[in-house]
């Protein structure tokens, strides 16, 4: 397995480009996610962050470039092998993407139930042990996603992503639409998932407070390409005008004291 600074390279994206009907969204994207690293991807709305994530998980096919996950090239990988690889990933989508026809607990254990054939009682117990960490009440387990608030849905989606302790976590705007307290709770959980399980995470977010709390490394996507890379602390001394625009609304003192 490829290593960098004695750490395994979990995801390596090289020269990735993607366009839709001649509209270039991403151009020559290069970055690596190392083992135990939490990477935040920031950028303006419509800058292609979610498109990048969808390329990584194989929902979209890049026009060119390579995506290597755990030493396996994802682009053009046969579907069965791609699906196997995806089982090691915990993914949340921007709008939750919970299954309407299933109860919340069934949503949470969906992947585990398919893999391990858990019965209802075991499944509910597993779901309960996860939602406890997310500040959700056990009553929501037997409800359908449409019967709980948007913020709760977001947390159920996160519960589904972390169920089974996957080593690679990919979150698309996990704290958007959440109150600051719950947002902070989610951030702690992402951090915990990375630290305790020895996992790695990519988080797409606009929430700079969240970036400061969870990220080891930050990538800024601007004008179809990665225009800045650094640590959260480096953001505050960066001369990059786009980075300055992003950090202007927040007071760095709060997060680094």
């Amino acid at each position: 397995m490829e290593k960098k600074n004695n750490k395994k390279v979990i995801i390596k994206v090289s020269n990735l480009s993607k366009s839709f009907n001649n509209n270039i969204v991403l151009k020559n994207i290069n970055f690596q996610l190392l083992e135990g690293e939490s990477l935040a991807i920031i950028g303006a709305s419509g800058s292609g962050k979610s498109v990048l994530l969808k390329n990584i998980i194989g929902i979209l096919q890049p026009d060119k470039g390579s995506i290597i996950i755990n030493d396996k090239e994802m682009v053009n990988l046969p579907r069965s092998l791609k699906e196997k690889l995806l089982l090691d990933l915990g993914i949340t989508f921007q709008h939750g993407a919970l299954f309407d026809s299933l109860k919340n607990w069934e949503n949470i254990i969906f992947k585990t139930a398919n893999k391990d054939k858990t019965n209802n009682r075991q499944g509910k117990q597993l779901a309960f042990s996860i939602i406890k960490q997310l500040g959700l009440q056990p009553e929501i387990l037997d409800l359908y996603p449409s019967e709980i608030s948007g913020g709760m849905q977001k947390r159920v989606a996160i519960a589904r992503a972390i169920c089974g302790n996957p080593k690679i976590l990919l979150f698309d705007e996990p704290t958007s639409g959440l109150d600051p307290v719950t947002g902070s709770l989610i951030d702690q959980l992402i951090k915990k998932a990375v630290r305790t399980v020895g996992g790695s995470a990519i988080t797409i977010t606009h929430d700079m407070a969240s970036v400061c709390r969870i990220a080891d490394k930050v990538i800024l996507i601007d004008k179809q390409t990665i225009s800045w890379t650094g640590t959260p602390k480096e953001m505050f001394v960066s001369s990059n005008t786009k980075i300055q625009e992003f950090i202007k609304p927040i007071n760095s003192e709060i997060f680094f004291k």
Binding site: I57, L87, I91, F93, A97, L98, F99
Partner: protein
């Protein structure tokens, strides 16, 4: 003038190419779906849910439609043939029309409206809210989990619905023949049994199977390929009902021609 002509030609050509591409996509989807119908594991819980939805919950609408169609058919036939003193042919005409044509077609159209629209809307909503994408990332193949159970359930339920619909339709004709027209009940029943032919039942069942395949495939195809949010869901729903209905009416002619042509 030439520009306008070229514009019209270009637009027509583009639409034609799109149409051909869509037909190609449909057949690829069709082949893929059939493959997943036969590929284990089968999601029996999902299949059972679909059987309940397509079969059991469609019974009232199919029953009502075929019952009244049988009644209308008996009444119209009697009114039409009474001048020729041919009242006895009512039983035969009701039986043949219901088993060969009206039973399967009316059931197919009713199920296309009720279930086809529901299938398309459900899958299209899942598509535009990224639920289908999420399924793929959770170790589940959408074609196997979502589409195959619907096709299997349609193939099981629609022939059964047609058989039940045929019986109810014939019963509708019987009710009118006996209680309104005043035929002798045992004579009418004997005439019905006498003219009942296996080939008619087989033909009706074959049609029902084909309609089941058409409804589930077309509805799932439009739902699965939906885009553009709520508008896309609406388009998928409408298209599935319109295309299924047209295909049902076209295929019923082809099957009839194959059997009796």
């Amino acid at each position: 003038m030439i520009d306008l002509f070229l514009d019209i030609l270009g637009t027509t050509g583009k639409k034609f190419i799109n149409f051909v591409v869509n037909i190609g996509h449909f057949f690829i989807f069709f082949g893929n779906a059939i493959y997943w119908v036969f590929k284990p594991p089968w999601y029996f819980k999902k299949i059972f849910q679909q059987i309940l939805d397509i079969g059991y919950f469609s019974l009232p609408v199919v029953g009502l439609t075929t019952f009244f169609s049988g009644m209308v058919l008996a009444l119209q036939t009697y009114n039409g043939f009474t001048d020729f003193n041919s009242e006895s042919t009512v039983a035969r005409i009701v039986l043949t029309s219901i088993t060969r044509e009206l039973g399967p077609v009316l059931t197919g159209l009713m199920v296309a409206g009720r279930i086809g629209a529901k299938m398309a809307a459900e899958i299209a909503t899942m598509r535009v809210t990224e639920q289908i994408d999420a399924l793929g990332t959770l170790g589940t193949r959408p074609m196997q989990y979502l589409i195959a159970p619907k096709i299997i359930a349609s193939l099981v339920c629609i022939p059964l619905l047609v058989l039940i619909g045929n019986t109810i339709g014939i019963l509708g004709g019987y009710v009118i023949a006996i209680y309104k027209i005043g035929f002798n009940a045992s004579l009418y029943l004997n005439a019905t049994m006498e003219y009942l032919q296996l080939i008619d039942i087989i033909q009706g069942t074959v049609k029902a199977g084909v309609f089941g395949l058409i409804i589930s495939m077309v509805s799932c195809y439009f739902g699965y390929n939906a885009s553009k949010g709520a508008e896309g869901v609406g388009f998928a729903t409408t298209s599935s009902v319109v295309v299924s209905s047209v295909m049902i009416l076209t295929s019923t002619y082809i099957i009839t021609a194959l059997f009796f042509g």
